[in-house]
Amino acid sequence: MKLAHSSTVPVPVERVWTVVMDVPRAAACVPGVSGVSGAGEDRFRGDLAVQVGPVRLSFSGEVAIVARDDAAHRATLRADAKEARLGGSVHASVEIALARAGEGCALRIESDLQVAGRIGELGQPLIQRKADQLLREFGACLARTAA
């Protein structure tokens, strides 16, 4: 499923870009993320805990920066994580684009998310709502962190 989030931050583009490209710091903006550490050049390992009502899922996996253009302030991230207990997994391609917006910065995040295995059978509406919520909170937090 495709998700998108846009927001404007009253912070210069470069400063937001620094935060975004500092993956452990940026990842801390996703609610439920913990233990992010480097796993090679532009690769990071970490855990994600997601709760939907009584359902608690814990993923562990990797995030990699697969493309970055520091001049244009655009990057593509790839996240793959497994929920070992259930045999499910999530796979996301995340495109982040920053642009100057007056004194501030326009932030746009587009994500293409796949949820595989048992979790994905739960009901796409539920997953979509949760993913959308995570993305929104991520965007808001990035803005706060950069400011």
Partner: protein
């Protein structure tokens, strides 16, 4: 990997079990939603506390004009209860609209509310009727209005270890009419694409004295369309005013795209079905 099943006959015992096992425990009544999530592997409690033998949680009664439905009353009991029908025929219809007779024989009124699935029928209707649940925990008893119970998809404001014991539907002011409509464009046994629960009371001059409009299946929780209500309150509910209110209900909806329709279509259907529900109340 199985869990230990407990079936206390007293409420205190149930609360104590839940308190003792904390996150490892899950309370069930009819257990329909639990079984689905458990079989899917999404819930893995070590202890399951069954509430069906707790006598104080069952039954349907009149409490000085208010309708009190015990948490473990099944949907089937509620849909067939003369008390429920007398209190509000639309409420009985909402209970009768849930899934199929097999599910209604098993699933309970309290369990349904605790499950907090926004696509279900009773939450929207009960919210329109200004109902509240009675919740009990070792710390005591409190009333939670439905507007505050539903927080997000499958998420309520119940504290860990807190249980719904009953839902209380206040007496309807004389002259109040209620409607529940459910849009099922695919099959008769589908979840609603959108549902609308509404109540309306007119004063002697024909103006709207009170109105509540709740949208189901088009948001993370049932959504109270307060702007639509405001547009009607105090007004003469003619066709134009109802259309205006319905258009505001469209804007209140917060649906997502899925196999039941695009978000835009569901918003538009929220408008159409709100208009239909309101028209039926002033006809």
């Amino acid at each position: 990997m199985s869990y230990a099943y407990h079936e206390p006959s007293e409420l205190d015992e149930a609360l104590a079990l839940l308190a003792r096992h904390g996150d490892d425990a899950h309370a069930v009544a009819g257990a329909t939603a639990f079984m689905l999530l458990y079989r899917q592997g999404l819930l893995r409690p070590s202890h399951v506390v069954g509430l069906r033998r707790v006598r104080s949680l069952g039954g349907i009664r009149d409490d000085g004009g208010a309708l009190v439905i015990g948490a473990t009353a099944t949907h089937r009991e509620a849909e067939r209860s003369p008390l429920v029908a007398r209190h509000c025929a639309a409420l009985a219809r909402a209970f009768a609209s849930v899934a199929t007779v097999r599910v209604r024989n098993q699933a309970t009124v309290g369990g349904n509310l605790a499950h907090a699935d926004p696509a279900q029928d009773p939450p929207a209707m009960l919210l329109a009727l200004d109902a509240a649940v009675t919740a009990v925990s070792p710390g005591g008893t409190r009333e939670i209005p439905l507007a505050e119970l539903f927080v997000d998809v499958l998420t309520t404001s119940l504290a860990p270890g807190e249980l719904i014991t009953a839902v209380r539907v206040p007496a309807l002011a004389p002259g109040t009419r209620a409607a529940y409509v459910k849009f099922l464009p695919r099959t008769a046994d589908d979840y609603a694409t959108v549902s609308v629960a509404a109540t309306l009371r007119r004063s002697e001059d024909g103006r709207v004295a009170d109105v509540r409009v709740v949208l189901g299946a088009v948001g993370p929780t049932p959504i109270r369309a307060t702007s639509a209500e405001d547009a009607l309150r105090g007004a003469a509910p003619d066709a134009a005013r109802i259309a205006e209110a319905a258009a505001l209900a469209r804007d209140a909806a917060d649906p997502i795209d899925d196999v039941r329709g695009s978000a835009a279509y569901k918003r538009e259907m929220a408008r159409v079905w709100t208009e239909r529900a309101l028209r039926s109340l002033v006809a």
